[in-house]
């Protein structure tokens, strides 16, 4: 088997975005009939690798060899013609078209005219792959996230697939769906095709894959067979150092510490129901949850981005009216408020085309006024202090945020959140797509802020992170806070168990 000609090979592929080297000379070989796993931290360049394989991104350098023939792939269309079929991490179905139409559109050849034949066809295709109860005449944007993901996988399967690339296919799936996907992958390789699975769930890697590639910082650092797979070792390779040293010590909560934030039975129109908890001064409170369990609503409601339907929030004993982020940041009466570091750094966190200065000073412009409008000197001083605090070169103050690396962009977002000197800092997945060095700096920042007597609420997709930097972790499941772990109970296993809804 190992002697077979690789169906897809990459040799020395490089890709640079601005100053970020996303791929630093990647070489991999995918052979027919096997399932490959690609693991790596967020921001290791996995998605760029996938995109350069399927034509969404054009590599700067390097060779792509499909079935022994060097090719250049300029468009997703071309990749498809070569038999590379991809399920993207960001869903790529057309929201305004029905599922049946999407199945059609994604198909390589042939076009079925008429609605009814199309529906019949799509239903049949779905049934072949074991999906039933599908209303294929529904528009994609009327489907749930899980159904959209299943639809996406279905569309990829319905194309000719010499290589099936699955980029984080299970993020919105239920456990039963993962079983289904396992069966699907087995069937695909049994038919002689190759599967490349990108995921951060090591359990899935262990279950699905024959060979595993480990990617770190834009380079492939290891390639192991399933038989030699060792979780601890792979994790170390992924993050480039051992787990213990990756986190700074957590500052203790002073015993006489007062309650800073008091949330009682907070509910939203979306998912969140009846959330109640408190944060003390100096406390780092974590939230663990699988995707889409209501944690977004919780953070949005607390930051004023989303109106709550019920419940109350008190900050230092005084009630907060959270009707807009402005009110969360500036509760009035000169009090400090609640600041948010949002999940989407590039679209929600920073304004990429504005200089760092204008980004960081945006929430505190009120304080920088003088007789003739904004005072440049005051602003430079305030922004420089903040940049120093987050360790970004203060000489870059007038550079656009876009010109910074991902990690530094995130630090600017932090500086912006810190600017208002908020009592409570909400951090939604603050280390996503950030390199290891910066991650450590961010942890130190968080610890430092807590040491200064502020409260922190942090959500992270990476459970080890929560275990290692939080005093206490709440678990959110189906819109409710179902568990709380602290002290000895606070470990990866117990959090994961609670997060998937299995509570002792």
């Amino acid at each position: 088997m190992n002697d077979a000609i690789p169906v897809l090979e990459m040799r020395g592929v490089r890709k640079t975005y601005g100053i970020t080297q996303a791929l630093k000379g990647i070489s991999i070989q995918l052979k027919p009939g096997r399932v490959y796993g690609l693991v790596g931290e967020n921001g290791a360049g996995k998605s760029t690798l996938v995109k350069s394989m399927c034509g969404a991104v054009k590599p700067d350098e390097g060779e792509l060899i499909v079935a022994g023939r060097p090719v250049t792939i300029n468009s997703p269309q071309q990749a498809r013609e070569l038999g590379i079929s991809t399920v993207f991490q960001e869903l790529s179905l057309i929201p305004d078209l029905t599922l049946a139409e999407n199945v059609q559109l994604q198909r390589q050849s042939g076009w079925i005219r008429g609605r009814r034949p199309r529906i019949t066809y799509a239903t049949e295709v779905a049934a072949t792959w074991g999906l039933t109860g599908v209303n294929v005449d529904t528009r994609i944007d009327a489907l749930s996230l899980r159904d959209q993901q299943l639809a996406e996988i279905l569309c990829a399967l319905n194309r000719p697939h010499r290589v099936l690339v699955l980029d984080e296919p299970t993020s919105a799936l239920l456990p039963a769906d993962v079983e289904w996907l396992h069966a699907v992958v087995r069937r695909v390789v049994a038919e002689g095709s190759t599967v490349l699975l990108i995921t951060h769930m090591l359990e899935e890697i262990e279950r699905f894959c024959d060979e595993i590639y480990v990617q770190r910082n834009g380079a492939i650092v290891d390639h192991v067979d399933r038989a030699d797979f060792d979780r601890g070792q792979v994790i170390e390779q992924m993050i480039g150092r051992s787990l213990e040293s990756a986190f700074p010590p957590i500052p203790p909560i002073p015993s006489e510490s007062e309650v800073l934030l008091e949330v009682s039975s907070l509910s939203t129109r979306g998912l969140l129901q009846d959330a109640s908890f408190t944060i003390k001064a100096g406390e780092i409170l974590g939230v663990a949850a699988l995707d889409g369990q209501g944690q977004n609503d919780l953070f949005e409601a607390l930051s004023g981005d989303l109106r709550s339907t019920d419940g109350s929030v008190r900050l230092r004993g005084l009630p907060m009216r959270l009707r807009s982020p402005a009110e969360a940041l500036r509760p009035g009466g000169g009090r400090a408020g609640i600041a948010l570091v949002p999940a989407e750094r590039k679209t929600h966190g920073a304004i990429l085309d504005l200089p760092i200065r204008k980004n960081v000073s945006l929430p505190i412009l009120r304080r920088l006024g003088g007789a003739f409008g904004l005072r440049d000197s005051k602003e430079t001083e305030a922004v420089s202090t903040l940049l120093e605090a987050v360790q970004v070169d203060r000489l870059k103050i007038d550079d656009p945020v876009r010109s910074l690396s991902g990690g530094n962009q995130q630090k600017v977002v932090f500086a912006k959140a810190l600017a208002g000197d908020a009592d409570v800092l909400l951090l939604f997945d603050p280390t996503r797509g950030v390199d290891v060095g910066t991650k450590y700096e961010i942890y130190k920042l968080i610890a430092g802020y807590a040491r200064a007597g502020k409260g922190i609420l942090i959500y992270s997709t990476e459970i080890p992170e929560l275990v290692n930097i939080c005093h206490r972790v709440l678990v959110c499941y189906h819109g409710r806070l179902v568990a709380e772990r602290h002290g000895a109970e606070l470990n990866e296993h117990s959090l994961m168990t609670a997060a998937i809804g299995v509570i002792k």
Binding site: P76, Q77, S92, L97, R113, R115, A126, L131, T132
Partner: protein
């Protein structure tokens, strides 16, 4: 039950319900106030022919709107084709058809030009079409410096035919039906789905293997062709040319498209909606006329109609279509 429910829901989803409702309500008022409005020749003149040019222009604009753009060049294309036809039309039937073909071709070419510039330089369609609308307007004036009539044609004239009728059936209606049929065919074709995909989400479309550039250039081309047809329609309607006539269709077409339930920004709606919207915008003037309103009310009514259409449309979206996103798909073993 389900069988009945689905088509209704689909109608609501497609955005056609609003223009259909408006046309029906307005027609009812119109007919009840002026009973002879249903007379075939009345219908032909005051409804079909009156809205023909606007409907064609709106249909063209609708395509650009569907792919997520805004097009200001409709007036320019109409003016140029109208001018071209006025100057050159006549002679043998073959020659007449030749110039009709040329008119449509000019429309398609200017559409392709717009699309090409928009795509190659990644510019906003509004600015590009603003520029081309000036240029086209200038060309119209260059070709036809003053209004003129068509050279009278002996015997059969395809241009005059467009606003006449066969056995009481207005040709304009047939033209609109043909466009509708063409749209339905196109909508069911790969190109049609790709067109909607581009308007719905360019990136997803590209990831789905749609050649976004080609499709949007093609869309602009089709739109241009429809503007060209609108130019022919106005030439037929007025049996002449006037370099300044096109301008009144610019804002009218936008109104028709919005009343027609299309979503500005792309991906939702249909040409049928735009055509119905154009009819609604036209009949509202007739209705005000027969009800004895002063003329200035017709402009005001157009504005109110716009807002009303949008209100009803979003009421439908929110009150009827916002269903809980259920987890409907069941996974099973592989066969």
């Amino acid at each position: 039950m389900r069988a009945l429910y689905r088509p209704g829901l689909r109608l609501l989803e497609s955005g056609l319900a609003v223009p259909l409702l408006f046309v029906l309500v307005l027609m009812t008022i119109y007919v009840s106030a002026s009973p002879n409005a249903l007379d075939p020749s009345q219908l032909k003149y005051t409804v079909i022919n009156a809205s023909l040019t606007l409907a064609l222009a709106a249909a063209g604009l609708a395509i650009v709107v569907l792919i997520g753009g805004l097009d200001l060049s409709s007036a320019g294309v109409i003016a140029v084709t109208n001018a071209l036809l006025t100057v050159n039309y006549g002679g043998s039937v073959a020659n007449q058809f030749l110039w009709i073909g040329i008119a449509i071709l000019v429309g398609i070419l200017s559409g392709l030009f717009n699309g090409l510039i928009v795509h190659v330089f990644q510019l906003e369609p509004v600015v590009v079409t603003l520029g081309t609308s000036f240029i086209l307007g200038g060309f119209a004036l260059l070709i036809l410096p003053k209004p003129a009539g068509l050279t009278p044609v002996e015997g059969f004239s395809p241009i005059a035919f467009m606003t006449s009728d066969i056995a009481g059936v207005p040709i304009g209606l047939l033209v609109l039906l043909t466009i509708t049929a063409g749209w339905l065919l196109m909508r069911r074709s790969r190109f049609g789905s790709q067109l909607m995909a581009v308007g719905s989400d360019k990136e997803a479309a590209s990831n789905s293997g749609v050649r976004v550039g080609l499709v949007s250039i093609g869309g602009f081309g089709v739109a241009g062709g429809l503007y060209g047809l609108a130019g022919i329609a106005i030439t037929s309607q007025t049996s002449g040319g006037d370099p300044n006539l096109g301008s009144s269709y610019l804002l009218g077409a936008f109104a028709a498209v919005v009343v027609g339930g299309l979503k500005l920004g792309g991906g939702r709606g249909s040409i049928i909606g735009a055509i119905l919207g154009a009819v609604a915008v036209t009949i509202v003037i007739n209705v005000l006329f027969v009800l004895g309103f002063a003329s200035f009310w017709s402009t005001i009514a157009r504005g109110v109609l716009l807002l009303l259409a949008l209100g009803v449309q979003s009421a439908i979206t929110v009150l009827l279509l916002r269903r809980r996103r259920g987890q409907s798909i069941t996974v099973g073993g592989l066969s």
